[in-house]
Symmetry: C2
Subunit: 322 residues, 2 copies
């Protein structure tokens, strides 16, 4: 089969046309991939930031395709385990050390297959799984977002941030966004953001908190010193949900503010099988259209990785098989 192969740190990804087809192990099944999507983790792996990855390997956690004549999505959360609070020890994100979705075929557990909502194109469908699942758990399970609440999404260009933004809008929340890019802020406002802030401006959190009365739910993947702005923007009783930490450690949290305002800081990552099914049903019901930044063919995969590494995307970067 055709596949995009990661062989070595710092070297371009290799497009091969005669990689052996995957073989389904017990409990697994084969999906014929029509489209795959990139996540930051794929790029980080090619930069050598994930220790212990054995190469050569086919990357990719997001895939949509055909399974025994049915159009399906793949839940990238594999072997979550029994505890809805946290993934267990045998947990995998599709699917290191096994091959991923950037190929014509992938072997996955049969229980990870879910029907594709009919309104989604292959590209949109491939854009959904990992980022949609992460956004859904962060926003609803952990953040307890409800209709009428005020929600703030930081760094709105990213895949998870955009889904959190769209899901919050779909559920009837009043949504604000931040981005360091005026272009991205403008695009979010066109999509329905009530307001936006440049997170590079000093004091924006306090100002926006005052203007809005504060946020019930804040979804962040940056952390770092900018976290103080979020802490200033959260309303009493509010939840700050973190699904990433690209800006590093969080400093100088005041316990007094935390307990008197009854604020929670909640870590969130990926999601359960039930959350995946709920998320896909939510997307189907609300006809959410995933934002596809750009589409590349599998053989041009390196260009897709370069685009993500440069941080230029607004929405998901997708690869298609022929």
């Amino acid at each position: 089969m055709q596949a995009l192969v990661y062989a070595e740190v710092g070297q371009p990804l290799e497009y091969h046309t005669s990689v052996p087809d995957p073989i389904a192990q017990e409990g697994e099944t084969i999906v014929n991939i029509r489209a795959a999507a990139l996540n930051h983790r794929d790029v980080y792996i090619t930069q050598g930031l994930y220790p212990g990855v054995v190469t050569p390997i086919i990357l990719g956690s997001d895939g949509a395709g055909i399974h025994e004549g049915r159009e399906v999505l793949i839940n990238p959360s594999i072997n979550w385990g029994d505890n809805p609070r946290v993934q267990g020890r045998s947990y995998q994100i599709l699917r290191i050390p096994n091959p991923g979705t950037m190929a014509q075929q992938v072997a996955v557990p049969a229980e990870n297959i879910v029907s594709k909502p009919a309104h989604l194109s292959w590209e949109q469908a491939a854009a959904l799984p990992l980022a949609g699942l992460t956004a859904y758990r962060a926003l609803f399970t952990q953040g307890q977002c409800e209709q009428g609440q005020k929600v703030l999404i930081s760094g709105v260009g990213g895949g998870v941030a955009l889904f959190a933004f769209q899901f919050a809008l779909a559920t009837g929340a009043e949504v604000y966004v931040t981005s360091g890019s005026a272009d991205k802020r403008g695009r979010a406002e066109k999509m329905g953001a009530k307001g936006s802030m440049d997170y590079k401006d000093t004091g924006w959190g306090k100002a926006l908190g005052k203007e809005t009365g504060g946020f019930d739910v804040i979804i962040d993947s940056a952390g770092g010193t900018g976290f103080q702005e979020l802490f200033n923007a959260v309303r009493p009783g509010g939840r700050i949900v973190m699904y990433g930490g690209t800006r590093g450690k969080i400093e100088a949290i005041s316990p007094q503010k935390l307990f008197w305002k009854q604020v929670s800081i909640i870590g969130s990552s990926m999601g359960t099988g039930k959350e995946f099914t709920d998320m896909v049903n939510f997307v189907d019901q609300h006809k959410v259209e995933p934002v596809v930044d750009s589409v590349f063919s599998l053989k041009d995969g390196q260009q897709a990785f370069d685009r993500m590494a440069a941080g230029l995307q607004f929405g998901k970067i997708v690869l298609t098989t022929d």
Copy 2:
């Protein structure tokens, strides 16, 4: 009536025998106090740490007594409001700027009166309200503590910490404690603690986390640099609930650890009317006996304040009226 009056920062509390009786305003009723208890907030107020307290004033948030022939406790959470997540703008802790419980009578909203469990003495009953409510919300509502879970209570000599410890034991959790005092650790172990740590020891959090497999719920009121030990002791999916911050700001939280371990840091303060009723029912059902450190008569009130300021207590310090 007799009352203990706080007149001026740095001056001893004054015991008066002819303070005018309180007058019930609309929705209020008068309780004849049999015993009151101290909380840190009372001491902090006499140290001038709460701005805007108008003197002279009768302090005291904890009281038990007689209301129209019935033995009652007073819920110190006044005007919480409609949102169970957080107290509203007109919230009072019994009951600045109004007079408190360190007197023969106090006026409180009629809805704040709850029947005293029969197994409690007046001293035990007075020890319960504020600390019991704070512990109940922190442990159960915010911490989601359940039977069979592992729980860590920091600084076990304090009133809230002791109730959290006793409630966790009563609910069938496996409970560990920390204290800087070997005597307090020993007493907690006699009461049923599975183990204890001196929080002044470096690296105790990682060691205890390894030994126990980590804690589902940690209840803390210190914060500061010692928070890292708690963060090292929490298990994946666990909750660190903070109801105080005597050691200052929390530094250097790793977002990666937070999100990948799906850990929450949750602020908690006081509780709702429903939580107060639930807490009193829990104490009644499990026959929890509040730990009374010492009892002073109202006229010796300053000695009680001195004892709390010195941090020597294990359990609550109680004042009785004659």
